[in-house]
C-alpha cells in the first residue's frame, strides 16, 4: 500500500496541535522574559560603562521626569539616550538643557562623561496625537515601534556622529508614561523575547516605570498597560501600593 501524500497531514486536528504547540512555546518564552518578583542584578562596579534610555513625553511627563533624574550621576550612567516624540521641541530642548547643566556641575575634563558624545537625543514619530482615530493610531503606533528599535540597538557619540552608531543595548530604560513609552517598552520586550544581541541573557534593557506623582488612587492608562511587564513599577502614593497583582512598589514622593 502506498503511503499517503504529505498533504494528507494537513488535517484540522494536525493544525490545531501545531497551533497549540506554538502558543505554548510563545507563552513559555514570554513567561521567561517577563519580570520575576525580586529582580536582583549582578553587582556592578562604578566605572562600568552603563547606558540608560530615558523616554520623555509632552510637558507634564517631561517636567516630572527631569525632577526624578535630578541626582543622575554621569559618572555611573556613562551614556544617556533621550527619546522624544516628533514635534515635541519642548522636551528635546529640556533634555539638552539638563545635559548642559549636568556638564557645568561636573566641570569639563576627560572621564566625567558629560558633554557632547556622552548623550544623544533621538526623535521618534508620535505614537498617537490628540483626537486621533483608533485605526490611524494603529498605523502611527507601528511607525513609532519601528523607530523605537534604533535608540535601543545603538547610540551615537560625538566622534562617531557621522559614522554608524555604536552598537549596544541600554542597561536601563526609565519612563513615566507618555504613549511613546509604552511602544518603546514593547520594543524592548521584543528584543528580550528573541534575545537580540543578548538582550535577555546579558540582562540588558531592564525597565523602570515611575507612575506620575499626580496619580493617587488609580493608575494612568500607560500605567495599566505596563504594570505587569516592566521590571520595576514605582508608585508615589500609598493608595497604589500593590496594584497590578502586587507589582506596584510604593516608594514615596520621588519628584
Amino acid at each position: 500500500m502506498a503511503s499517503p501524500p504529505p498533504s494528507a497531514l494537513y488535517t484540522p486536528t494536525f493544525l490545531l496541535a501545531l497551533l497549540t504547540t506554538l502558543l505554548l512555546c510563545l507563552t513559555l518564552r514570554a513567561l521567561a522574559i517577563l519580570p520575576s518578583r525580586s529582580p536582583k542584578p549582578r553587582l556592578r562596579t562604578p566605572g562600568t560603562p552603563t547606558r540608560v534610555v530615558i523616554v520623555l513625553g509632552s510637558g507634564g511627563h517631561t517636567q516630572e521626569m527631569l525632577y526624578l533624574l535630578r541626582d543622575l550621576d554621569p559618572a555611573k550612567y556613562t551614556h544617556r539616550t533621550w527619546v522624544v516624540s516628533s514635534g515635541d521641541a519642548f522636551s528635546a530642548g529640556r533634555a539638552v538643557a539638563f545635559e548642559s547643566e549636568m556638564e557645568s556641575r561636573a566641570g569639563s575634563g576627560h572621564g566625567k562623561n558629560v558633554g557632547p558624545g556622552t548623550f544623544d537625543v533621538v526623535t521618534v514619530p508620535r505614537a498617537r496625537s490628540i483626537h486621533q482615530s483608533l485605526l490611524t493610531t494603529l498605523g502611527s503606533s507601528l511607525r513609532c515601534l519601528c523607530a523605537c528599535f534604533a535608540p535601543l540597538l545603538g547610540f551615537t557619540t560625538a566622534s562617531s556622529m557621522a559614522q554608524a552608531p555604536t552598537k549596544d543595548l541600554p542597561d536601563l530604560i526609565v519612563t513615566n508614561g507618555p504613549a511613546t513609552a509604552c511602544i518603546l517598552v514593547f520594543a524592548a520586550l521584543l528584543l528580550r523575547f528573541f534575545n537580540v544581541r543578548g538582550a535577555q541573557s546579558r540582562g540588558k534593557c531592564t525597565t523602570v516605570y515611575a507612575e506620575s506623582f499626580a496619580r493617587v488612587k488609580t493608575l494612568s492608562l500607560s500605567g495599566k498597560l505596563l504594570v505587569r511587564v516592566v521590571d520595576r513599577f514605582l508608585v508615589q502614593w500609598e493608595g497604589l501600593e500593590g496594584v497590578g497583582g502586587g507589582r506596584a512598589e510604593f516608594v514615596g514622593v520621588l519628584v
Binding site: S38, P39, K40, P41, R42, L43, R44, P46, T50, V52, G59, G60, Q63, E64, Y67, L68, L69, D71, L72, D73, K76, Y77, D171, L172, V174, T206, V208, A210, S212, F213, A214, R215, V216, K217, T218, D231, R232, L234, W237, G239, V251, G252, V253, L254, V255
Partner: protein, 196 residues
C-alpha cells in the same frame, strides 16, 4: 513691610472661579488679617474675569477704608515660568495659591512657602482633588476649597512653621525615603538591593 500672595490659575485653561474666590470679600478680609500687602494674580487668558473681580475688590476695600493696605495686580502668563513670582513670595514671607495642576504644585513646593492648592471641581474625571487631599495629608500643602477659600488663607500663617520638607530628604540623617537615583542604582546593580 510688604508681604506678597501669588495666585496662579493655569496657563492653558484658566481657573476662573479661583480668580473670583481669591478676590472675594471673605478672602480679602483673610489676607488683611494675615498682613498680606500685595496680591499678584496670574490670570492666563481670563483677563475679563480678573478685571471685573479686581474692580469689585478695590471697591470693597475702599468702602472699608483699607485700600491703602492691599494692592491688587495681575499678569497673563510668563513664559519663563513662575520662578520669579515664587521667589518674591519667598523673600517677603508670603504665601501662594495655586490651581491643582501638578506642574505648578511641583514648581511652588520647592520654594518652601505656604502653598494653598485649590482643585478645579468643574473638571470632570481628573485627579486634582485626590492629589490635593493626599498632599495636604502628607503636610506639604494646604488643601483649599474654591467656595470657601478664606479658612485656608487664615491657616497659612500657622502652616509656615510646620510644613513638611519637599522634596523629602533622601540623604543624610533625616533620610526617610529612597530617591529615584537610589532606585536606578539598585536596579542596575551599582548598590546592593538589600543594603540600600
Amino acid at each position: 513691610m510688604s508681604k506678597v500672595c501669588f495666585v496662579t490659575t493655569g496657563a492653558t485653561a484658566p481657573f476662573r472661579k479661583l480668580i473670583e474666590a481669591a478676590l472675594s470679600p471673605a478672602s480679602l478680609d483673610a489676607f488683611l488679617q494675615c498682613g498680606v500687602t500685595h496680591i499678584f494674580i496670574q490670570y492666563g487668558t481670563a483677563k475679563d474675569v480678573y478685571q471685573s473681580s479686581a474692580e469689585a475688590a478695590r471697591q470693597y476695600l475702599n468702602e472699608n477704608g483699607t485700600e491703602h493696605k492691599l494692592n491688587i495686580d495681575g499678569m497673563d502668563f510668563d513664559s519663563s515660568g513662575l520662578i520669579e513670582q515664587f521667589k518674591l513670595v519667598k523673600q517677603t514671607q508670603g504665601l501662594a495659591i495655586s490651581h491643582a495642576g501638578s506642574g505648578s504644585i511641583l514648581e511652588g513646593l520647592r520654594f518652601q512657602v505656604p502653598l494653598i492648592v485649590v482643585p478645579n471641581t468643574a473638571l470632570l474625571d481628573n485627579h486634582q482633588e485626590e492629589l490635593a487631599v493626599a498632599m495636604d495629608r502628607a503636610g506639604y500643602v494646604i488643601h483649599g476649597n474654591v467656595d470657601h477659600l478664606a479658612p485656608a488663607i487664615e491657616a497659612s500663617e500657622g502652616f509656615r512653621t510646620k510644613m513638611a520638607q519637599f522634596p523629602p530628604a533622601t540623604a543624610g540623617k533625616e533620610r526617610k525615603v529612597k530617591s529615584f537615583a537610589n532606585i536606578m542604582d539598585e536596579t542596575v546593580g551599582f548598590t546592593d538591593f538589600n543594603n540600600e
